[in-house]
Symmetry: none
Subunit: 422 residues, 2 copies
């Protein structure tokens, strides 16, 4: 009996090589495999060519003992997976009477005769085990070839997913190494990827030297740096304990820049801080155009702390809806620290909330000047204990500047709330 610790995935289908569709099945399969301690080493997408399917499978089998292939099991000429695998593994195809009966039965149940082309789906490589497909005509196939195992699964996700569940539960769980992977996602704001990497490097080295080494993947997304910590463990609680000490190390290194150790979003973190303190928040959004409040209200239960916000694009709206002084706008311009502060204070008063946020900036792509270039964003936060304001410069497209600005505003609110329980 082989023991699997790594697998490869091959998705078959020319439509997956176009510019519109991705092989999303691999995410589902990977998640289920990781639960029983099997990692994915490589993923390949090949078109409807028997030669390419065989080449990809041969390459995968040279690296790992378990290959899961999806797609290309349909009834039409361009479904080549069965033929390619049968040839590569020298397992001639034979028509399987029981499979044929099941396929015919599915058509009968719908009151139609089986089209002759579906007969192809009853062809089974010699020595293969048939895997039941409760939701479609194409059965799966489990082929053992020495130490190697090749599993063929249909491509449509509704057919594939219950079959993956069954394989993991009934076969792979017993054949896996017994170890599983436990993951925690830590997120850091206000630092670049390089800065996080440099600061965390000594920790990585220590973690790698542990009995159960902790593996770290660093991922930069706009406005946040994610660290994915993964450890192998005999059971979940052992993994949790190992990761807890790594998280403590990171907390010490990154202090308030670390905003979650359970993969929460910035808006969830800010929402929890507000809800715990029974605070409310309102925003005066210029360049973000409502994105900040939309993100705040993505969190279920956010109506506990979001009452209202004002989107104030024009100067007039800042004056009329927030009471920002025309003199301030005239003297400093709309994108300035005094105006951001006045917006924050104005919306806080008019919405009668604990916290007020003012965001003003130049999202671009036009409207910049040498003094106030595209990407310049000023964020003010007004609270009962005082007002803060900060100017930043972001790069990227209009949508990216909006996203960065809303993330920075959330982070400014988060930092203003930390340690303020009143």
């Amino acid at each position: 009996m082989p023991v699997f610790s790594a697998a490869e995935l091959i998705a078959v289908g020319s439509e997956l090589l176009g510019h519109t569709r991705l092989d999303t099945n691999s995410l589902y399969i990977t998640r289920r495999l990781l639960e029983v301690g099997i990692t994915v080493r490589m993923k390949t997408v090949v078109g409807d060519s028997a030669g390419d399917v065989a080449t990809a499978l041969a390459a995968a089998l040279s690296r790992v003992d378990l290959v899961l292939m999806t797609g290309g099991l349909g009834p039409t000429d361009d479904d080549v997976t069965r033929e390619a695998v049968s040839r590569l593994l020298a397992r001639p195809l034979r028509e399987d009477a029981a499979v044929l009966e099941r396929i015919k039965g599915r058509f009968v149940a719908r009151g139609v005769e089986m089209p002759w082309i579906n007969r192809r789906q009853a062809m089974v490589p010699e020595g293969a085990e048939v895997l039941l497909n409760p939701r479609g005509t194409a059965p799966g196939l489990w082929i053992q070839s020495g130490e190697k195992t090749v599993v063929l699964l249909p491509g449509p996700p509704p057919e594939l997913q219950p079959m993956v569940d069954a394989i993991v539960r009934d076969r792979l769980a017993a054949l896996a190494s017994g170890l599983r992977y436990v993951t925690r996602v830590i997120r850091i704001a206000g630092r670049t990827e390089s800065h996080v990497e440099v600061a965390a490097l000594p920790l990585y080295q220590r973690w790698r030297a542990e009995r159960r080494p902790i593996d770290v993947t660093i991922l930069a997304s706009p406005g946040t740096i994610d660290l994915h910590l993964t450890v192998q463990a005999g059971h979940a609680s052992e993994g949790d304990a190992n990761l807890a000490s790594a998280v403590a190390d990171l907390r010490q290194t990154f202090a308030d820049d670390l905003y979650t150790d359970v993969g929460a979003s910035m808006e969830e973190v800010v929402g929890s801080l507000l809800a715990e303190r029974r605070f409310t928040i309102a925003a005066a959004e210029s360049c973000t155009g409502g994105l900040l409040t939309s993100r705040l209200t993505d969190v279920p239960g956010s109506s506990a702390y979001v009452d209202r916000s004002a989107i104030v694009y024009s100067n007039e709206s800042k004056v009329e809806w927030l009471g920002v002084g025309s003199d301030l706008l005239g003297t400093h311009g709309a994108v300035s620290e005094p105006v951001a502060e006045a917006m924050a204070a104005g919306v806080r008063t008019r919405a009668n909330t604990t916290i007020g946020v003012g965001i003003t900036g130049i999202a671009g792509p036009t409207g910049g000047t040498p003094d106030k270039p595209v990407g310049l964003v000023v964020i003010g936060v007004a609270a009962p204990w005082g007002t803060s304001v900060r100017t930043r410069r972001f790069s990227g497209t209009r949508e990216q500047v909006k996203w960065h600005a809303s993330s920075a505003a959330l982070d400014d609110v988060r930092r203003a709330l930390l340690g303020r329980a009143d």
Copy 2:
């Protein structure tokens, strides 16, 4: 000079082998390659292992003359693409002074010193051409090795995309086979995928029988059905002519449900309709929490028609900021047609715009009742020629309901504007 008709794509990054992220870059690259007649033969995803990167590249080069690799060009230890490619192609890495200066300059512009690890990003394989990365520190690399070409590109999509554009325009267009694929994206609102499919089926059959058959891919996204029409042509104008007649067929079939034949977003279409008419718009957003106005302001130049909007979550805010009658709220509840109409009319008056939109609904996951279930959304549109209101029921998560509601509101505005030039 090689002539390319097929390419392979290799995405490097262990995070792409987990259960959370897909290699979406390949869709963008494929689309641009198809425009110059280059098809993708296989796609591979490998982890941060120099051995696996080299294996995948060697295999790809055995099949095609052009390989584009994305990711693994960062400054950290687990960024192995440069090293793996340099070893496989026997092109030793040398530090490039000009690249190093550019990287340092990027940090200086942000007022910070370059972390020492970023020095790695200035390492260039012997004989490689450096591809400028206007949005990040990692330059791209173009490596010619006999008849084979290997292109290394950074993984973050905002950095990658302009670099792909430049490569296709400046290099690949000249090296491609001459036949190109011309694509047009048609978008339809207010119909399900099955309805679109059934209505378009007779057209598909006619198009497939043409001398240059038109290939159609149908893609359902939340709130919109996309039809991608693709045709092969000797030059762009020939393809354009073929597609124009197909687009005319679709216009006849789908009438006003077809909202773009050039792949524009709904917010761009609505923005153009507003700008052409010199109209302005304001929204009163309850369950969408600012998402509608944020989408409207994603469009460059939207300040021509967006002046301000109100996010009014609570009943009090609807009364105080929009003048919605407390009696209306008491009698009908916040999620009702009279309230949506009053919100639309109220924000139109208070923002002094041509169009006012009111959105009220139950985004969930809690807050639903048997009478007013989660996903119920009411949208009112107030215009000089009158007010319309419509109730819909969406399914999905909180974020999905918000998205559907904002898309429906944009579509309601679009339909209200069609044929109204005054």
